[in-house]
Subunit: 155 residues, 2 copies
């Protein structure tokens, strides 16, 4: 029951794109630098995000990626879906589940529970947008700019 690093990285990359929104494309080299993430890996993720329609790419010297929509209109759920596929605690509650393929469907005591769980997870992720994420963060930074944690100094 954990979010893959892939999804986490993807989200971190998307928040960077969100910050740069409206100011031209941001290269993944930049993202890798800022977020201290492996560049080659981000390339893969960026590809998924592009194919998923969340970002568009510009090649060449001043190229990079930019969001196809305003950060307010992109939910975390979309990002997670795009890089990680549907979040589903067990197979039989995913949307492409074919009724009957689980032999125990009729007598399953816990399917209702898993459906509730999925709904609950989806709800949290759907409610949160990229805009909120970067907004929350700037709030945090504004509140405590003079007290950097000694342990959190560098990468």
């Amino acid at each position: 029951m954990r979010v893959s690093s892939k999804a986490h990285y993807g989200l971190r990359m998307m928040t960077e794109f969100a910050r740069a929104y409206g100011r031209g494309p941001l290269s993944i080299a930049e993202v890798a630098r800022i977020e201290h993430l492996p560049l080659a890996y981000l390339e893969q993720l960026a590809g998924q995000l592009r194919r998923g329609g969340l970002v568009e790419s510009t090649r060449g010297v001043h190229g990079g990626y930019s969001l196809t929509r305003s950060p307010e209109l992109i939910s975390v759920l979309e990002v997670v879906h795009t890089v990680e596929g549907e979040v589903s605690p067990v197979e039989c509650v995913s949307t492409d589940y074919v009724s009957g393929s689980c032999a125990r469907e009729g007598e399953c005591a816990s399917r209702g529970l898993w459906m509730r769980l999925k709904e609950s997870i989806d709800a949290v992720l759907r409610q949160t947008t990229l805009a909120e994420l970067i907004h929350d963060q700037s709030l945090l930074e504004a509140m405590a700019p003079a007290e950097p944690h000694p342990e959190t100094s560098h990468d």
Copy 2:
């Protein structure tokens, strides 16, 4: 973002123990038969559940396992915790996380999100008890006893 089969199996086993509650121990051989799960694997899980204090074992011929508490008093969260460890979407929101060990803690845009997510998941699992699970199921069976799905015929 999925529940491991381990947790799922563990829960299924626990619902069987819950059904048998008050009527002596239930052997894992029985559980394996009823739930169509691999016996040797269930043995492992049963061990975890016992060490976690959720069930107690009786050895010997009419032995087996029985819940240490009434099914109303055992939440799904406990079961999942016991077999799978804490459910935590990312490391930095687990209970044993040492503040500061994530270098980006101060500037992390998404930690709040993950905490909310964890809380939401925990809430759903905490609210549901074994008793509810088997009760829901008997409801289901009572409502549609005469209409078995054609595709769900065998194991």
